[in-house]
Each structure stands twice: as C-alpha cells, then as structure tokens.
C-alpha cells in the first residue's frame, strides 16, 4: 500500500496504526516560531471504534490502510452472520459478524442500504442510514387527552430496540428514527 507523509494528512484518511486500520478525524499543525513542527492527529480505530490521539514528527509517514466504504443492501441473517449484497450491480454478497455489526443491529431492516466498511475485503463495521423507518411491535396504549401534554413512553421495534415515543403512538405505527441519536423523529 501507499504511504502518506504528514503534509498529506487530512480528515477521513485511512491509515494503519499498530496493525489496526484507523481513520483520521482531525489534524492539527503545531509549529513554534523557532523549533520543530509536529502534526497532531485525532483518529478513530476502525476495529475497536475507539478514538485516540497521536503526534507525528513533520515529514514522518504512515501506511495507507486498505479500507473501503461500500453501499450494501441487508438481506438476512443465519444467526452467525448478517448478509449484505453490493448495490453496484455485481450482486456480490458478504457476511458481517456481530462485532462488525455492533449497535447497528438495532436498526437492521431487510432491503435497506447500509454503509459497510471493508478492510482487506472483510467487513469491519456497518453504518445505518441517518434515518430509518421501522414499525412498533409493542407499546402501551396511549391515553386519551395526553397528546397535548407531550409525555412519552417506551416503544419496542422488531429489532428489539426501544425508543421513547409520544403517547399517541400505537402498535403497528411506522416510525421514523434518527439512527445517530436513537431518537424518534415522527410517524412515517
């Protein structure tokens, strides 16, 4: 793979750090009037999801990571793997394990398109679209007259996820959820 020198660092650059693929989040150039220049990088470890910081000497370089973000449609799970299919017309299928899926399991829906991050061709993370529509499988019946007071109650989705919803929401309603915050947006 290619190498990137500090002057090529930018947000989103995928690089290898201690054998883990990482993505740069923020880059800061540090240079006293007289003295050495450094580049401080805030990054996300794509395997663990953890955020860290590391400083590089000016001119130092890092190895590029073979990481690709790919749009893929969710098909089904066999209990061990969750199977996705490329949307580029190749119909190529890839199975992601529970670790790669992570919290996105809460927002899984067949035929929805997810961003699957592949490292050396294997999925390491799955990102849900920002908004997703899912039905309510279970919630307490709303009480008449409560709508104006803006109260909330828990509602369970088919994925097992629980979101706070307004009292007027009923079982079977379709909800629009913001997957980044896990919050109810509206009825769909």
């Amino acid at each position: 793979m290619a190498n990137y020198a500090t002057n090529e660092f930018k947000g989103g650059l995928k690089f290898m750090l201690d054998a883990d693929p990482c993505s740069m989040i923020d880059i800061e150039h540090i240079k006293p009037g007289k003295g050495q220049a450094f580049t401080r990088v805030k990054y996300r470890n794509l395997n663990s999801g953890r955020v860290g910081e590391k400083t590089f000497k000016s001119g130092e370089s890092v190895e590029a990571a073979d990481v690709m973000d790919t749009d893929m449609e969710y098909l089904y799970t066999d209990g061990e793997f969750w199977h996705f299919m490329k949307t580029d017309g190749s119909f190529e299928q890839i199975g992601a394990d529970a670790k790669a899926l992570g919290d996105t399991s809460k927002w899984l829906k067949e035929q929805e398109v997810y961003l699957v991050t592949l490292y050396n061709g294997a999925p390491i993370s799955v990102t849900a679209p920002n908004f997703i529509v899912l039905p309510v499988t279970e919630t307490d019946p709303g009480l008449k007259g409560d709508t104006a007071q803006g109260g909330s109650k828990p509602a369970t989705l088919p994925t097992g996820a629980v979101v706070r919803v307004p009292l007027f929401v009923n079982e079977g309603d379709l909800l629009k959820i913001d997957t980044r915050t896990g919050e109810y947006v509206s009825r769909a």
Binding site: H29, I30, K34, G35, Q36, R40, K54, T55
Partner: protein, 314 residues
Amino acid sequence: MLLAKLTKRAELLTATRHFFNSRGVLEVNTPVLAPAGSTDPLLDSFITQLEGGSALPQQLYLQTSPEFYMKRLLAEGSGSIYQLGPCFRNGELSQRHNPEFLMLEWYRPGWSLAELEAECCALVDALLGAASYQRMTYRQAFIDYVGLNPFTASLAELRQTCVAVSAIAAEQLDRDACLDLLVSHVLEPALKALNRVILYEFPASQAALAQVHQDAYGNKVASRFELYVKGLELANAYQELTSASEQAARFAADNAQRLALGKPQVIADVKLVAALEKGLPDCSGIALGFDRMVMLACDAASLDEVQTFSAYRW
C-alpha cells in the same frame, strides 16, 4: 461582523504606529522578495523566479522574517527601527498559522533584553489593555508543569514523557525536538490559564541568533524571551548576536542540517555577514505575530477569523 474586525485591525495598526512614533522608533519597509532566504532548517520559504532582468539573480525568496534586512539597516546606523510587514512561511497552516501573516518586528540598539521586555509589555498593554505579567524561566515552567528539569533530564526520560503525552514514535527525537513537543503538548495548554507570561532563559541549544549566558544553576541559556498570552505564542525576543563569524558559521551549519534533512539548500545573505563585519551595534530585537495580536484583541479562536482573507478563504 467583517467590518468590525477590519475596524479593530485598523485601530490596532494605528495604535502600534502611534506607540512607536511617540518613542522615536522609525518605521521602515524592507524587501519582501529577495535573492537570499532564511537558512533555518525548520522554516521553508516560498521560492520564485525572476523573469527578464538578466543581470539580477534569477531565484528569489519570499522572506520568512524581515530580520536580515533590518540588521543591515542597523549596521548602517539607522538607530531604533520597526516594521509592520507580511512574512511568508511555506507549509504552515493551522488555527494559529497562515502561510502569509503580518509580522511586527523592532530593534533597539544599545538596549538590554530587560528594557525591551518592558517595552514589549507596554505595547501589549496599549493594544490589549493593561494586565500583569508572570515571569518564569523555561526551567521552572518545565519543573512546574511538565514535571522534569529540561537541563538535567536524560534523553531517555524526555522521550518517555513525549510518548506518554503524545504517543509519538520518540526514538528519532533529539533533545530539542522533545522539549519543543513538551512545550506544545503540555506547557502551552497549561499557560492558557495564565493570561500573560514571559518565558525566559531558554536552553542555549535554542538560542538561534541570541547571545548565551549562564543561569543561576550553571546552565547555558539563551538571552531570549517569549511572550505567551493565554497560551498563544505572541512574541520572541533576543539579545542579538553581533558576531559576523558566528553568523556565517550558523548559515553553514543550517545548510548542513538542511542537507541531512533532505531539504534544498538556501542561498544565505552574504551582505548581512558583510554588514556584521562592518559592525552591528549591540541591540535587542523582537518579532511579534500581529495577526495573533488581533486574534487576542477580538477574542477569536483562530487566525482565519481575523485575517482579512486567510488561506482558507483565498
């Protein structure tokens, strides 16, 4: 909003000129584009070509600082001088850097570093409002905030601390690189809480073109101070070296270091060496990042907010 910042900048420029006028310091303009550049291995110049004029040098440098020309004026007997002008440093872009910035630089023949420090504080008071200044030696600042003595700590200990605070691959770092890293990663963040700080008695290895003397502990230190305001490096001052042979030796050493770093050689200013041979008066000199002063006056978080058109808005 833009107009408010333009107005503030103009007010600060006027106040600066008034300050120096009232003290009998002469404003000068020296070339921004010149056939010699800064040899400093850690500064990179923009280089351009002169077309036509066959008798003139073809390769020209945008100046990283007006220092050399101003020293040539001092050697000619100019007396106290100041300059407000653009400087250019390649590859420098951040919240606190822009490849082009406005530098305020001034020289005081016959003045000690202490006298210049008092004048620097008076200028900052005039521009940002009066406040107290905390003076601390580089040594004490390291002991208090980094937890080690910069003169006696072993290289291994310095590297270990660098790794702990920045996860850097430290095996390539020399002493000064370690110290620079600890200043930027530990000391500067700590100074943010302290408003105005005069940091002085830097290690002799960081003297650049400052004179060297011995501190109370027998360490060789540079006759140099830096002014930090809220953790922002604002000004850097020297009791200037006046030796022509030392200047020539420094140019050669810089270029040797550039070669080792794989950087292009820089044509040194032989006329500066000649001027020093003729005689540079004993003097103190200081460079102050004027855009950073505007940042502080506007309580801005980045240079981009106060430069009229920063590189982000070309």
